[in-house]
Symmetry: C2
Subunit: 404 residues, 2 copies
């Protein structure tokens, strides 16, 4: 067995950095890793223990920081997601204080985490880590008993990771897992010890290798760190959007103009006619933001259809997807009672999409103009408004129709 | 002379903490301090040197971090403002690299900093601090020559403060300044040295006292710290708003209902009939957010009047004030072309207020309802939308009229 220390170089406090502790966990599920060329593959079973029993005093908040919420989701769920995204991670064991077992189970259910097991921790961090590792062992025994497989398969790697370091990347985990396997019981790379490294030495007779972590691995400690984490998530969610145009040439033209206009706003747009079929349907899994462009005779049914497809893709539990209806009116359209009725219909649809499906629907309306300069200005305004709505993901503004 | 070290306990990296270095700076301006009961007064001249020559490599941004912008203003301007807010601080000398002199002069001009002098720094941080302190000395000599006052007045306190620690509070500065004066050449409190403490010892023959700083004093180092700083500023700007009702009983009633509704949204509303006269006009200086409630026959002229008053108060250069026009329509009002013309007028007024005065104008429209439950829901929605607009301060959404 090997103990690896994930050092967040940018750790915001002086606490010793937390370890990635490999231990004994065999599994019969094959690793689903698809290693990139030039990267080490992970073809052995790896699981994760997330000690999450902290009290979060330093955030200045009443809630323990791992349960603090940003963008509608608790921090611990972001950390779990970071591991669930990695195909070769088999299990994630979250260790929480007894009094938070129900809360944690509810989080697992609400955000549809599938590879997670929740166990009660001990009175110290070390006991909690031990509980997590034991739970993985029990699971193994249960599986073996249930399926009659031979016992005694050799343990591989368990990563112990701070629950309040949500931004852990697959590349770094791969580096850790491979190093853990390769360096097990070599003593050449021991650089310095932390509490956990000492523990590993004392109880496991193992040696350790220090792997410096990226700055993104930093630990959420203070209230301001939650704000920084929210900002990082918002930024990563708002980098791109998928524009659905239908077959209309005017809609495609507007989408192309928007594509150019959002460049300086640090956003990329992918324009597709619809979300049906291979490449297009991948958009549903690759994007968190969708823009439906309607020109001519805009109908709410187009938005309803897109909502249904988004909902079917089942991504909403993790982050609220944004859907913006960009609606081009011809100049002759009367801004009459029809507009007001439609505004009410959009508001009602948006309220329902937000509460039932966690999808944020907004509208942007613009008038077709023959005057090139005026039209350019409108397009630029649509780009700015859409970018702001996508970046802010404001629940309070769902259902509003902005004017561009 | 005394050297004090402002230790940001929550410093995000392992760099030695930066000093508050008092030195020799006499001034003939009396301290304007208004100490609170129980707090030490500062009745001696204090000035500040802000070394701001860093290259900001670790933010991952091209711009040096002190010039990185959030909410439309560079970090260095927030730090300067933190000192300018303190009445007993006489001068702030900002030391920047030669190539940034023009940029810094432009920032001082744009954000109307009045107690600031910009000087070019040396090749190291220590040389830059020295340049800053010398500039204060020169200023003193110039003043003496110009005004024929006797030379040789004893130096008092100079605080040297990291330009990238924007959140420094008056209480802490008072503690530092008083301690600097009291502990000058005592050696009882030297706890540990940093580069600057050693410098002070070596060249000034002075002793030092370590004063632990609050967590808010943390240093902006990484890109995520800029996001955290923005979030802190947004939170502090969005804690309260001033509601202007006019004489209308219905408007006052709505304002009172809003006051109750924003409580759970962590916001306080202060309701006033207008901004004319003693107590009410203080609102212009105490708040960053204003809500004009119009009931009955809403006129844009009410908003224009408030805009003029806001502009006259000259606060906008520091932060963009938010002005929300909450407009109650009677049920019989036709949502006709009048509405569209008005929407255009609001959009144009908002565009002009934003570009000319840095004031962010938004509208919220609701319909008067006889049905209590419906009305309650609308009021709650106004509260939520207003709170979101105030919190986000989005430039892209100015001039929009939201429906509640």
């Amino acid at each position: 067995m090997t103990e690896l220390n994930q050092t967040g170089r940018s750790g915001v406090d002086s606490e010793p950095d937390r370890p990635a502790q490999p231990g004994a966990f065999p599994t019969d599920e094959p690793g689903k890793s698809e290693p990139q060329p030039g990267e080490g593959s992970v073809d052995f079973p790896v699981s994760v223990v997330l000690p999450a029993g902290g009290t979060g005093e330093r955030t200045g908040l009443q809630t323990p920081k791992q349960f603090c919420t940003f963008l509608g989701r608790p921090l611990i769920s972001y950390t779990i997601q970071a591991f669930e995204r990695v195909s070769w991670i088999q299990r994630v064991v979250v260790v929480v204080a007894k009094e938070n077992m129900d809360l944690m189970a509810d989080i697992v259910w609400r955000f549809q985490h599938r590879r997670v097991r929740v166990v009660a921790g001990g009175s110290t961090r070390h006991r909690s880590i031990s509980s997590g590792v034991l739970a993985l062992g029990e699971e193994e025994e249960e599986e073996e008993e249930g399926q009659g497989r031979p016992a005694g398969r050799r343990p591989e790697v368990i990563i112990v990771h701070d629950a309040v370091r949500p931004f852990v990347e697959e590349d770094f985990l791969r580096e850790i897992a491979v190093a853990a396997k390769e360096h097990g019981c070599t003593d050449s790379d021991f650089e310095f010890g932390t509490e956990c490294l000492h523990l590993a030495l004392q109880y496991c007779g193992t040696k350790a290798k220090l792997i410096p972590g990226p700055p993104t691995l930093w630990k959420v400690t203070y209230k301001r760190d939650l704000a920084a984490a929210e900002s990082i998530v918002k930024e990563s969610l708002s980098r791109s959007a998928c524009v659905v145009t239908g077959a209309s040439a005017a809609a495609i033209e507007l989408a192309d103009a928007l594509q150019k206009a959002v460049g300086p706003l640090d956003m990329e747009l992918h324009v597709v006619p619809d979300l049906v079929g291979g490449a297009s349907s991948r958009c549903l899994l690759e994007h968190w933001n969708f823009i439906q462009v309607s020109v001519g005779d805009p109908r709410l049914s187009e938005v309803e259809a897109l909502l249904t497809e988004l909902q079917a893709a089942e991504r909403a539990p993790l982050h609220p997807p944004v859907l913006i209806w960009v609606c081009v009116r011809s100049v002759s359209d009367r801004p009459s009672a029809v507009g007001a009725a439609e505004a009410t219909a959009v508001a009602e649809l948006a309220a329902s999409a937000a509460s039932r499906w966690n999808i944020l629907l907004y509208g942007i309306q613009l008038r077709r103009s023959q005057e090139a300069e005026h039209w350019q200005r409108s397009v630029l305004k649509v780009a700015k408004i859409a970018s702001a709505l996508i970046h802010e993901r404001s629940a309070a503004l769902v259902g509003q129709i902005m004017q561009a």
